[in-house]
């Protein structure tokens, strides 16, 4: 049986962990295996972890502006892969304009403050299924 594996991490100096932990628990409660990478990651460390763990989706939790700074590099690293792992970003700080930019660089989904549990679960399941 295939279990969905998701890497959850926070980039840069952002150390607001509550949402990341909350999302990790929610995904666990929906039967997924979450590799929790915590805070202080760089695009390189998350990329390397995603390869070593053979994850289906990478989820970035953000409560600062840093996603704008780091995500292009992560997306570039992944794009060079034969089968790039999809990336999703969650955070109430992500503005509509930022979300557009993220989508433009290849982020598969952006979850704002209004995103429901069901919406996030369905979206990750769909991405993992590809």
């Amino acid at each position: 049986m295939k279990n969905i594996r998701v890497l959850i991490g926070i980039l840069g100096m952002d150390q607001h962990e509550v949402a990341a932990v909350g999302i990790a628990k929610m995904l666990r409660d929906h039967g997924m295996e979450v590799i929790y990478a915590g805070c202080f990651n760089t695009p390189e460390t998350l990329f390397q972890s995603a390869i070593e763990e053979d994850v289906d989706v990478i989820g970035i939790s953000s409560h600062s502006w840093e996603y704008l700074y780091y995500l292009p590099e992560l997306m570039e690293l992944l794009a060079a892969e034969e089968e790039p792992v999809p990336v999703v970003v969650g955070g109430s700080v992500v503005t509509a304009k930022d979300a557009q930019e993220l989508t433009a660089i290849g982020v598969a989904a952006v979850y704002g403050s209004g995103a429901s549990d069901g919406e996030i679960i369905d979206s990750i399941k769909e991405l993992a299924d590809r």
């Binding site: 409660d29 929906h30 979450v34 929790y36």
Partner: protein, 317 residues
């Protein structure tokens, strides 16, 4: 599949990572791949690390990685965390404690969820060790789920099993209980800055004095008891020296060691065979029609479950 196996043997991380996933998911071809990897295995030394939750297993693993890397050797780490028995989901958080090795190409860390398996490791662990071995890793560290007293599977897979203990955790009665106390090759009292450390170390040492000569064959390796503070690498050099000594001991293949190995291997083989039989039988029964008909008759009282079991098994034979 051959291509994947070849790439694993050449040390390719992505292929190894994918194959471990296939083993973990019970992919039908993974069994064959593991058979093909066999000629390329045997070079890795497997260190098992077990002990209660919060004892510092991941931090100790991280310190051991430091020493292995200082010696210019490569290492794979398999870190097992529990799956939820209800949803099957899991949070695997051991990587965080080893984050300083994240970008080291000669360190391959993989988290495994226990997936409903008891015993501290998972059915996929043996296969995952084989993959890392075939990649050419010099060491494979296997960190179990935080265990209680009876989860001893790791000792059958590891060349050297470390039991990580912490000061103040139970008295000598705890230490005399069967289970993990019997399978440890080396005992590590971690968090040794705690004032109760000397008591705990003395308790453990006295236990091995008492039980050292029990059993039919004279035990010729008395588990050493060491103190560490894994967080700042105190005592890790000494620990690694003892792991080396244990490697020399096992290579001498004494009567006691071989007897234990034989017993371990037999348990493993029997386990593998009964799992395989189970798989095959449930695949045959899965067609379901016969089962459905029988279930109907059992419910209406036309026949009973003992009779049906016997007749179905006879057919399969």
């Amino acid at each position: 599949m051959q291509k994947l196996v070849d790439k694993v043997v050449s040390g390719d991380l992505r292929s190894a990572s994918r194959l471990i996933r296939m083993i973990d998911d019970g992919h039908p071809q993974s069994h064959e791949a593991l058979k093909q990897l066999f000629p390329h295995c045997g070079g890795a030394r497997v260190i098992g690390i077990t002990g209660p939750p919060g004892a510092g297993k991941s931090t100790l693993s991280s310190s051991l990685i430091d020493i292995i890397r200082q010696r210019n050797k490569s290492v794979g780490v398999l870190a097992v965390d529990p799956s939820s028995p209800i949803t099957g989901g899991a949070i695997l958080g051991d990587r965080i404690r080893m984050s300083r090795h994240a970008l080291d190409e000669d360190v391959f860390i993989r988290s495994l969820a226990s997936r409903g398996h008891f015993g501290g490791i998972t059915p996929a662990t043996r296969g995952a060790i084989r993959v890392m071995d075939a990649m050419g890793k010099d060491y494979v560290i296997v960190e179990t789920v935080g265990v209680g007293q009876d989860e001893v599977d790791i000792a059958r897979l590891a060349d050297t099993t470390l039991i990580v203990w912490v000061p103040g955790l139970g008295d000598n009665v705890q230490a005399m209980k069967a289970g993990i106390m019997e399978v440890g090759d080396v005992f590590v009292v971690n968090k040794a800055e705690h004032p109760d450390t000397a008591n705990t170390v003395n308790y453990l040492k006295s236990v091995f004095r008492q039980t050292g000569s029990s059993g039919p064959i004279q035990r010729d390796w008395i588990p050493p008891v060491l103190e560490t503070v894994a967080l700042n690498s105190r005592g890790i050099d000494e620990l690694f020296k003892v792991i080396d000594e244990h490697a020399q001991y096992t290579s001498r293949a004494s009567e006691y060691y071989l007897a234990r190995k034989r017993a371990d291997c037999e348990v493993e083989l029997r386990g593998f065979i009964s799992r395989e039989i189970n798989h095959r039988i449930s695949r045959q029964l899965a067609d379901g029609e016969k089962i459905n008909a029988q279930v109907g008759q059992i419910i209406t009282g036309e026949t009973d479950i003992y009779v049906v079991t016997d007749s179905l098994l006879q057919e399969l034979e």
